[in-house]
Amino acid sequence: MAASGSDTVSVVERTRPIAAGGVIVAAHFLGRIAAFVLGEEAIVLVPPDGEPRRVAAHDGAILDTAADDGRVITAGDDGKIVATDADGASSVLASDPKQRWIDHVALGPDGAVAWSAGKIAYVQTKESNSPSNKQSAKELRAFEAPSTVGGLAFFPKGFRLAIAHYNGATLWFPNASGAAPEKLEWKGSHLGAKVSPDGRFLVTTMQEPMLHGWRLVDRQHMRMSGYAARVMSTSWSAGGQWLATAGASQLVLWPFQSKDGPMGKTPRLLTPSEHRVDVVACHPRTDVAAAGYNNGLVLLARIEDGAEILAKKPGDAPVTALAWSGDGRLLAWGTESGEAGIVDLG
């Protein structure tokens, strides 16, 4: 394993350690404030110069999360969808009337929020800033998928949502009530969805250790397989040239530069290890990907030549969360045992 060599560049000494106090399931940045989402109840906000602050969000498990620059959206087994901003102010965006688990949540580029409970996907349009028509400006639309929703993703442009489910995915325009949702079929259980930044491809993670993709213009299929485990994390590189994926004992990057996407091409394989990559996060500005392993190791890899930088030494728990700040200078990581860190790359 290359990273264990003494000549590997390390940024470990630039890490600010954080005790999150619970299983970490995701990390985000709200500007320069790191947000560590716990498996239960709370988000831990860490300002650059301040103390970590625990903010309660749910009465129970946090099942999924999404974020933009201004807020972290969390979905809970208490049936609530909660927005938390950088100041630690939380608001309940919606509550399921039957208190069903909110399995998935997604944020649209225009601030719209989507979530799912069982087979039903919901979209809430962005809240109006005008206090007088606040209620009427927030609209809720629902779509019933053929089976339990496995994942949600907004398209980068246009008010359109990709919904992954059993035997395929559905593309839904929540505002076009007359238009029939578009169905994309592929046998099997699709558990996660990602739309490419240019909106040309939809990629789903499957129950099997593989990904499936559709080139949307002609619905051409793409099968991306060879993984050791179910792929639980994927990330588009800056500009969408590569899709970095977890689930193998190395960082697997599928090429999406050409109009054919990865069809007929082999992926680029970086940072080989005897351990499995569980979580990936691409740098927001340059072609660098962070890979978190199930032995606690975090490596940064330059996609062009595979050059590695050590960001976290192996520890006692799998890495469960990785996030870059918008300017790409800070990297947050978190583990299953509640250990966390913010690496300042300057």
Binding site: V23, V25, G39, D77, D103, K187, M206, Q207, M210
Partner: protein, 356 residues
């Protein structure tokens, strides 16, 4: 049969045990569940129930499941998982520490196999939780009828590690022994308990470790029901079957189910691993849809370790268990429970794996 999978890296004792309750409609699953929850055991349970269930469950952590059964995309039609369980167990494990064990109550028509296969197939599920046992509740009065007209009921009996013959107060002693003999004809290996209102000691249904390779100790048929004072040993293999028939052994009837059987084989000659593994893998590839469960303890030639394995349909899981003890008889035993199994072919195949 990989000897080292990721799921084995976490000690079994740290995994949350999951007990699956099955049983045909009205047999008493919910009664058993409520009994488990209300006993003063000091344990906290997370309960996964069918979301369309009618009877209330008195427990803090109850999750509704929709029993979505998915086929895996691996060309194997019997390789199915419960998609909702993958999702729910992942969610529950985020609250690790809030409960000690998980109980899954299935609907009366459910097949236990997809539930069990979920633990073998999904690495994320298998890493944090372990299947403890499949417990089937059978209605003493109606089981015989259901075995004739409901394939689901027969599946649930064949698949079970523990069977409660419930509502024994509604049948005569003769009828009860007839039901027991029918159950034995399908599955001689499950622990059988006769109950009224599902009253059974909790350790009879929980903490069974029935799917733990390290706990596969012996594969003797369990004719000795723990609350049965009329013991009879039946010591013959169940691989030759014709039509449904019964014969008496010292008073207790013995049935061979015409559709579902168990095939038990043993040999004190060492097996050749280079013959055994290809044979068993080929067998489950071909007969997987019909094989519900299999288990084995194996003694290989030139190998001082006991090898144990188990399987559900086409999925096999096996490992070296421990060294054979000094003086311990090195006998290989293997059991298949399934539907219309080709007994002669299986027996001959097993015998051909004996090392020369």
């Amino acid at each position: 049969m990989s000897e080292q999978s990721l799921s084995e890296k976490i000690p079994v004792s740290e995994k949350i045990p999951v007990t699956v309750l099955t049983g045909y409609l009205g047999a008493g699953k919910t009664t058993l569940l409520n009994r488990i929850l209300s006993e003063p055991h000091g344990k906290r349970y997370a309960v996964i129930v069918n979301e369309f269930g009618e009877i209330g469950i008195d427990n803090d952590l109850v999750v509704g499941a929709d029993e979505e059964v998915f086929e895996m995309n691996n060309g194997c039609i019997c390789c199915t998982v419960r998609g909702d369980l993958v999702r729910i167990l992942d969610g529950l494990m985020r609250r690790k520490g809030k409960f000690d064990a998980i109980i899954v109550e299935t609907t009366g028509l459910a097949d236990p196999a997809p539930v069990a296969q979920t633990f073998f197939i999904d690495e994320n599920v298998g890493r944090k939780t372990r299947l403890d046992a499949v417990v089937t509740v059978a209605d003493a009065r109606w089981l015989n009828e259901r075995l004739k007209d409901a394939p689901e009921a027969k599946n649930q009996i064949a698949f079970a590690d523990v069977i409660l013959i419930n509502k024994t107060d509604l049948v005569s002693p003769d009828e009860l022994s007839d039901v027991e003999a029918r159950i034995r004809g399908i599955n001689p290996y499950a622990k059988v308990h006769k109950t009224q209102r599902a009253k059974v000691p909790l350790d009879a249904v929980l903490g069974r470790n029935a799917f733990d390779l390290d706990r596969i100790l012996d594969l003797e048929p369990d004719f000795l029901g723990s609350d049965d004072h009329d013991h009879h040993h039946h010591d013959h293999d169940h691989h030759d079957h014709g039509h449904d028939h019964a014969h008496a052994h010292g008073g207790l009837k013995h049935y061979h189910d015409e559709e579902m059987q168990s095939i038990a084989m043993h040999t004190d000659k060492p097996l050749d691993p280079d013959k055994f593994f290809p044979w068993v893998q080929d067998l489950v590839q071909k007969e997987g849809p019909n094989i519900l469960r299999c288990k084995g303890i194996l003694a290989f030639k030139d190998d001082d370790q006991r090898f144990v394995f188990q399987g559900v349909h086409m999925i096999l899981d096996g490992d070296h268990q421990r060294p054979w003890k000094a003086g311990e008889k090195r006998v290989s035993r293997i059991v298949f429970i399934g539907r219309n199994l080709p007994g002669k072919m299986i027996t001959e195949g097993f015998e051909s794996c004996i090392a020369q």
